[in-house]
Assembly symmetry: C2
Homo-oligomer: 492 residues x 2
């Protein structure tokens, strides 16, 4: 192995941290809780952005950019929002540094105190609705469908790369509508975009559902979520879409003249996914050899490693690789020939495995003479000797197979870790084994809180795209009547 | 006219502000000096990003992401850099808000004071070199070629949308090299990328040159710049590329083992362009009717306006437009049919002129019957009736013509406003008329400062891609010997 990784069975959490660092995805910076996203990690994020951005635009959404800073007073306007977001955040109080009169570098200039402190955005509902107030006068101005790709800051106490960091990158969509129905439909549409992206691009099976009131976004009437299961059986919330009702419109006094000339408050949604998706991707598919990247998100889809003793052998193999590379690039694939002469092939194999490259080709003089090449799949770790004839078309199809197989593997594993549970005693044991438990719930925040206090498990969602849950029953904890099962799990 | 714009001749500065707001590019926010980039403006910025990003990647540059916050002490490490950048900046001093015990919203929690204050990045050399220290051990780790697209904050006192804002969006490239020659070549290469982008994509003629020491980036040994001329004759610095020598490597102790096993400090460059380019685009090409967008950056390249009295006429024209639209989209163009039924064609014409859409098609029942369409060019404000037959190919070629014509117009105008000046008395009068003055300079900071104090003019650059300037002479101000002419102008 190129670099040693802790096996999952030994310490899943350490395995994750090892992977992030050793596969060159990210690292800690000198600033507490803020990570550096390295080029290889960022290239995956760019691919995510590009697929999502196109999907948003297809629904009529346009990108825009709103300020990084939010006046402190804005947070007091929406009562629930202030409780949820104004707590742990970065506060700008001054606008100047000066040379320390004692000669010790620079200090904050006490004369440069801001009249009103500015908060580095933890999310942008407040600043955006203060802007929408100027944009919206009449029903003709609606809907407004804006998204921004940006950084946000939440002063988290315990951070983990990608999963929970003080600063992270995300997109936040903010839409304004004339009716509640239209806003609710938009919130549903966008959680659908996220679910499609997770399944088709990330190869990540997700359950779509409503959050329980306890787990809702601060200021939302309804939060829709996509929930994924990691390999340790914990749940990871991978994206959320909120129906905000008229809360922000009322807080920022955003009204529109309807077709009859009456004044009405505007209806809102917001929805976002973040670099947390990187954490989901790593944890859902990685193995003890490293990352396993779905071809749709792999910065390098095919790597080629030459095996040679002489310069002649080297040149002949590289020449053949260049031909295959050109063919694959013409089919839209990203290819890298690993021609570093200071490393042995075995070292390179391990390194590209660690980095999760879906397909690896290796070729020596004997292969070349025989008109063959060795094709290794990252997802199954299997190798096959194939004819060079038609190799490009074969790999083109193979990448689709790999994408489908990674999804199927994650789906099978997840489904084998979803189980019904109807007894509280059983619940307390079962929930510790990981996985999702489908249980009856009486619909009250009290019961959910008590279950959380006793087991750390939360309701991940009330599923909407699966009918298995619609049945009458009794709450697993309180024994009160229930109209359907919800998903309980311990979550990241 | 849809919305009134101040004519350039009346008040150029107000014309610019009118254009920014009325063409829906950007607006002021509730936060001092921070703008909102509206969807139409952001769509232009996205096009800029996409062309530049591809050009960077072609040179081997990879994107990454570094923290928004920089520990205050980092700014003290590089002596010149602290003087240049640590002054007017946003300083985070606390990490929590709390409910005001007096019940008046939220206040900063005095118990949540940071041990060391954090500066919101005004530029990222310091944090990035603190990271590069971990990445660089040996010559094998070099070069490092990273770029990031992000937001930065400089607490400017007088702000103008796009041209000078407290928060702005930009890209900053930061490279690390084993030799001075390689770093200098990279700095030159990147200013070349900027120049190509300005000329070919923005249709903006620029002069490439070195900055004088007074105008250099804080911490650089050499700053290369592209300088453009706006329609009021002022200069606008549109992008810079810096050779940083070993200054940051020394400040952050970044050394590498060379091939002979010796330890050497790493050589650096940094280079950036920002949303300021939006200001350059607006000011270089706009006219009294509004924006004039080069087709390469126009979010909508062709707009189609139907003219009709009856529903039948409307439907027939729209059906024809849909056909043309499909043909143009197949050629890679972005098209919008303006089918709003609440506005008159004349109003729509003015609105799309204001927004700078390069080509407008208008068609009524009579055109349709005759197999013709009216084609209007935004750059020349001319109209022509054309046959529908082959219209897609015609427009495809027309867009190239428009791109070339916008560049030529700007180039002719600029060149007619560059003049040599060899007398100090003449200089004082001529510089007030605007334009670039090519003058001899003795190479001293003192002379440059005196000229600036007396006239507000600065040396925009010492040109490197034009031989007109290499001639012996005497300094226009001091009378001392000079080895060549430099470009003086009053700048944004």
């Amino acid at each position: 192995m190129a670099k040693e990784i802790t096996p999952r069975s030994e310490n899943y959490s350490q395995w994750y941290n090892d992977l992030v660092v050793k596969a060159d995805l990210a690292e800690q910076s000198a600033v507490r809780g803020c990570m550096v996203i390295k080029p290889y990690g960022y290239a995956i994020w760019e691919k995510m952005q590009s697929v999502l951005d196109a999907a948003f635009k297809k629904t009529g959404v346009q990108n825009a950019y709103f300020p990084l800073f939010i006046p402190k007073s804005f947070f007091s306007r929406e009562a629930e929002h202030v409780a949820g977001f104004a707590k742990e955040c970065a506060v700008v109080t001054h606008h100047r540094l000066m040379n320390d009169p004692d000669g010790n570098g620079v200090i904050v200039d006490p004369d440069a105190k801001l009249e009103e402190e500015l908060v580095v955005r933890p999310t942008s509902e407040t600043i955006i609705w203060s802007v929408y107030k100027n944009w919206i006068k009449s029903w003709r101005d609606l809907p407004i469908l804006c998204n921004q790709w940006c950084n946000v800051v939440r002063w988290e106490m315990r951070t983990r790369p990608f999963l929970r960091t003080a600063e992270f990158l995300w997109q936040e969509g903010h839409t304004a509508h004339a009716t509640a129905e239209e806003a609710e439909a938009k919130a549903r549409q966008m959680v659908g975009v996220y679910a499609d992206f997770a399944r088709n691009t990330m190869a990540l099976p997700v359950i779509v559902g409503h959050k329980s009131p306890n787990e809702r976004f601060a200021g939302a009437l309804d939060t829709l979520t996509i929930e994924a299961m990691m390999q340790d059986g914990k749940a990871l919330q991978a994206g959320t879409s909120h129906f905000l009702g008229q809360n922000f419109a009322k807080s920022f006094d955003v009204q529109f003249a309807d077709k009859d000339g009456g004044l009405q408050y505007v209806w809102a949604t917001s929805w976002g996914v973040s670099t947390r998706l990187m954490g989901a991707l790593i944890m859902a598919h990685g193995d003890d050899n490293g990352l396993v990247l779905p071809p749709a998100l792999a910065p390098i889809q095919i790597v080629m490693v030459p095996i040679y003793k002489t310069d002649e052998e080297h040149d002949a193999v590289i020449a053949e690789f260049e031909k295959i590379k050109a063919g694959l690039e013409a089919l839209g694939h990203s290819v890298q020939i690993d021609d570093r002469d200071t490393l042995r092939p075995g070292f390179k194999f391990a390194e590209w495995e660690l980095k999760g490259v879906p397909v690896r080709l290796a070729m020596g003089a004997r292969d070349l003479a025989a008109g063959t090449v060795e094709v290794a799949r990252r997802d199954t770790l299997t190798k096959e000797t194939m004819a060079l004839e038609g190799i490009e078309a074969h790999i083109h199809g193979l990448l689709d197979d790999i994408q489908a197989n990674i999804y199927k593997k994650a789906l099978d594993w997840r489904d084998s870790n979803i189980r019904k549970c109807d007894s509280w005693e059983e619940f307390k044991t079962e929930i510790q084994k990981g996985g999702f438990l489908l249980c009856h719930w009486d619909g009250t925040a009290e019961t959910e809180q008590k279950i959380k206090d006793e087991t750390k498990a939360t309701i991940r969602c009330i599923p909407i795209d699966s009918c298995v849950c619609e049945e009458e029953g009794v709450d697993i904890y309180s024994g009160k009547p229930s109209k359907g099962r919800v998903v309980f799990a311990i979550a990241y």
